[in-house]
Amino acid sequence: MTQFAEMLTYDFMQRSLAAAALVGAVCSVIGVFVVLRGLAFIGAGTAHAAFAGVTLAYLIGVPPLPLAIVFGLATVWITGIMEEQGRMKLDVSIGILYTATMALAILFIGLMKGYNAEVYGYLFGSVLSVTPEELRTIGLLGVLVVGVIVAFAKELYFIAFDQDMAEASGVPARRIFYLLLTLVALTVVVSLKTVGAILVFAMVLIPASTAYQLTHSLKQMTVYAVLIGTVCAVGGVMVSYWWDLPSGPAIVLLATAVFFLSVLFSPKRLRRTSA
């Protein structure tokens, strides 16, 4: 317990716990809609695109956040348009975009003079080195994303359940779909520094998929996802502090463990085997 109290006295630790809690919560709320609307792969591609934006920013010496947002938004919108037109199989087009943006990122890193540790922080996640300014940005973007989700909650649930039906009953379903894609991109950017480009999508997918196993209600699924996401993110940071492990993998592996437990003890699964 004293160890726990001591941990909380460090400024950097307070910041990392706050950042982790914010990222955990925001990722899991958006994750509910990503999982239900079937956008998992789009989000994973976005994370790599956002990372390409970060590397370009470091290469030309500008702040990384705006470029990460631009790259992220461009990717989700392009994939959204491709999904609507259905000209190519979506997994193929995203697969191309995904690897192409990663290639860009590697190219930009190669063009840099020398080794830049900060860039690798965005790739692997480094919540323990979050600065006060970064925490403020995460907080602001997080509040923005959650605020928009709350404002459009009923429309977002409707398009996740049945987009055609939503359109037919007078909901501007297409615009809401693009709004959702935009929120996915912003969420990825918010979380980039904390869990890293490679792992960020786990934070979006895992808490929501875990909650999916546990309930038959949309509202409950959302509440469970936020609880699971926040607890895993904060718990992961503590684990990483105590055992001196990298924070990104600590958070994601903890969430993964919880996910497998939920699959094992899912009421849905139990019902299916007993029926």
Binding site: K154, F158, F161, A168, S169, G170, S217, L218
Partner: protein, 260 residues
């Protein structure tokens, strides 16, 4: 005849190079029960999309209520309760019956308005109309096909519609359930004084409950009481050799399952 609630005036629908419906002129009166029939690819679903305001006419006019639907984003949609063709529902999708029915309120509420106590009452009443009030907290995915269909009809009713638009409501469910669903639709038409537009390939099933039948195959071939439309000379124009009429009943011989 009451004032028309839906009026097609030489309306043509489709995309460049594809005409799905051509030169349709048709008036549907308030409170009518109209069955729309025709072979596959005859434009039945296009008619549906047009009435929902999802597809504007390429030429001619379509008026619904007092609203000319030349523009896509048209607000009359909330007043049309729509039951889409039964798709495959993911049995594990986490949604309760009441949550699904409440979605019927969303279009009418508009953006930035949260559903309140009154909307909940409307949704519960809609569930009572379809006899599913005891299942409000059940998982939608755990219900039988017929029960799911009832819940989705309740969602359409929760819009407090004036028109009920049903796309193949009896396809994909077993025979006894088909009759139960059709009985339910007849009762809703009578009790709630709804205008019903029912799209189907199953002529035998609906011939006894409609006021009028509309026969489509890209063009409108006939519109009138069943006894006028269900005559061999009228039907043969559309179904050709696939039509077989038995002494007692009328059967269209066409294998629909190959097309789905």
């Amino acid at each position: 005849m009451a004032a028309p609630i839906i009026r097609f005036d030489h309306a043509t629908f489709g995309f460049p190079g594809v005409t799905a419906l051509e030169d349709i002129s048709l008036e549907i009166a308030d409170g009518e029960f109209v069955g729309v029939i025709g072979p596959n690819g005859s434009g039945k679903t296009t008619l549906c999309r047009a009435v929902l305001g999802l597809l504007p006419p390429r030429s001619g006019h379509l008026q619904i209520f007092d609203c000319a639907c030349e523009e896509l984003r048209c607000h009359h949609r909330a007043r049309i309760g729509y039951l889409p063709q039964k798709g495959v529902l993911d049995r594990n999708f986490p949604i309760t019956v009441l949550e699904a029915v409440m979605m019927g309120r969303y279009g009418a509420l508009g953006l930035f308005t949260r559903p309140g106590r009154q909307d909940r009452e409307i949704a519960l009443q809609a569930l009572a109309h379809v006899g599913m009030q005891d299942h409000q907290d059940s998982a939608l995915g755990h219900l039988s096909g017929g029960q799911q269909q009832r819940v989705l009809i309740a969602r359409a009713l929760a819009q407090q519609p004036r028109v009920l638009l049903l796309d193949e409501p009896t396809t994909g469910i077993d025979m006894p359930t088909q009759h139960a669903v059709l009985d339910l639709i007849r009762r809703l038409h009578r009790d709630l004084r709804l205008t019903v537009l029912l799209i189907t390939h199953d002529i035998n099933m609906i011939r006894s409950c409609v006021d009028r039948l509309v026969l489509l195959k890209t063009r409108l071939y006939a519109a009138g009481p069943p006894e006028e439309v269900l005559r061999p000379d009228v039907l043969q124009q559309v179904y050709g050799k696939e039509l077989v009429i038995t002494e007692k009943d009328l059967i269209i011989v066409e294998d629909y399952h190959h097309h789905h």
